[in-house]
């Protein structure tokens, strides 16, 4: 058919197995694709390898972005000593405000969650609170200076841009979101694409992202995101949000 079935290493199994990662992602050229397909048609052991390969690819590509790495580093910090008192207090305040506002639909009504999950959530909220402080204390005054009422944040009407050397943390954001830790990248992408939201910072060690959503549609966008099953929490970042 293609005339290209030439085992380079003397073993067709070895050659096919070496090509499997790019076979399952569809990145082989037509000749190699046909070669692998032909071999899989007659080799049960390589078909088993192919099934394993597809699952491995799915697991690796669905890994949350740095969640484990971030958590490992956070755990090291926690083990090094107790967190500052004000961090715990602020975390408690944010959790309290979130629960008073109704929290994430369905989640608050769930029966007792495992202790480890509560601990994780506490850490997540504490880190999120730190991000919010940063946004409120550093970024928002800059946004207020740069953005006129009625103009979308980041709009081009003013023609003002950050200096290129500026940290991305200074890019204006107006919402904070936490996805479920095991949310596939494609779901995250779909959530942002369908709502017009953009990631302007994050993830934090706890996996929170700072978003910019169109100012005039923010309430609608946040409501849409809040309704997604893979969103743990989403809330606006504005002065006055923290009681």
């Amino acid at each position: 058919m293609t005339g290209r079935i030439i085992p380079l290493h003397g073993d067709p199994h070895e050659r096919v197995i070496q090509l499997l990662p790019w076979f399952v992602t569809g990145r082989l050229d037509a000749g190699e694709q046909a070669e692998v397909e032909a071999h899989l048609g007659v080799c049960e052991s390589c078909r088993a390898e192919e099934r394993m390969e597809r699952r491995l690819e799915a697991e690796v590509s669905a890994m949350p972005l740095a969640a484990e790495l971030g958590w490992t580093r956070m755990r090291e910090r926690l083990n090094a000593g107790p967190p500052p008192a004000r961090e715990r207090d602020l975390g408690a305040r944010v959790v309290s405000a979130w629960r008073r506002a109704g929290g994430r639909r369905g989640r608050a009504r769930k029966p007792a969650t495992p202790r480890t999950r509560r601990i994780w959530l506490g850490v997540a909220v504490a880190v999120q609170a730190a991000v919010m402080l940063l946004m409120l204390g550093v970024v928002w005054p800059q946004v207020g200076q740069r953005i006129q009422p009625g103009t979308g944040v980041g709009g081009t009407a003013t023609g003002a841009y950050h200096a290129l050397g500026a940290s991305p943390a200074a890019t204006p954001g107006n919402a904070l979101i936490i996805f479920q830790p095991d949310t596939p990248e494609r779901n995250l992408r779909a959530a942002l694409m369908t709502t017009g939201a953009r990631v302007v910072d994050g993830p934090t060690a706890a996996g929170a992202y700072v978003l910019h959503v169109p100012a005039e549609r923010r309430a609608e966008v946040l409501a849409t995101l809040s309704g997604r099953p893979d969103v743990v929490m989403v809330q606006p970042i504005d002065p006055g949000v923290i009681p």
Binding site: L56, V60, A66
Partner: protein, 202 residues
């Protein structure tokens, strides 16, 4: 318009392939070469998520990622003329990121190459027990962490960014057989660590 551009760039690299993408990449780089900061901001936002993921998994040092990412895109801003159109824009940018990451890791004395890949032992004496204690993703993260930066780069570029081995070879400036070999050893290591779980996959 701008949203469409971001939507294309936010996905896996395959979504940005094709003639239309190539021409829009060329147009974007022409604007950047002319000093258009809004064009550069568009490129920054387009590549930030993908480079963050790639650099995080390659370096396994979250604190390095932002620095390397910004150094990478600063090269794009300062030397746009070095993109000659001989490869896809994404290939060129990932190659810069790869080199910047290697340099940053060497400054921190992090191992980059891995001469012991074939002889790597299991992470634990009892993979099934480990799987019983921790989630698969946590074990995968550990298993990837035990690989060298070069192996992790190949795994991430292959599985998540869905690049072909030839393009990965261009990014890493190595022979295609080296890419295949690194991927072969990385998969073997991951499968060995996940042995108990893999039995349920097939």
């Amino acid at each position: 318009m701008a949203l469409g551009r971001r939507a294309t760039g936010a996905g896996r690299l395959r979504a940005a392939s094709g003639d239309e993408s190539v021409s829009s990449d060329a147009a974007l780089m022409a604007r950047i070469a002319a000093g258009d900061r809004s064009a550069f901001e568009t490129l920054y936002r387009t590549y930030h998520p993908r480079l963050t993921r790639f650099l995080t998994h390659m370096t396994h040092r979250p604190t390095l990622v932002e620095e390397v990412l910004n150094d990478t895109l600063m090269v794009v801003w300062r030397r746009p003329e070095s993109f000659n159109g001989g490869s896809r824009l994404s290939t060129w940018i990932f190659a810069i990121a790869y080199r910047q990451a290697l340099n940053a890791m060497r400054r921190q004395d992090q191992p980059v190459e891995d001469g012991d890949a074939e002889a790597r032992p299991d992470l634990g004496a009892d993979p099934e027990q480990r799987l019983g204690e921790r989630q698969v993703k946590a074990i995968l993260a550990d298993a990837l962490g035990a690989l060298s930066a070069d192996h992790r780069a190949v795994v991430d570029l292959t599985y998540f960014h869905e690049l072909g081995y030839k393009e990965i070879a261009r990014i890493m400036d190595c022979p295609v057989d080296t890419v295949k070999t690194r991927m072969f050893h990385a998969r073997r290591h991951l499968k060995r660590v996940l042995a108990g779980q893999l039995a349920d996959w097939v």
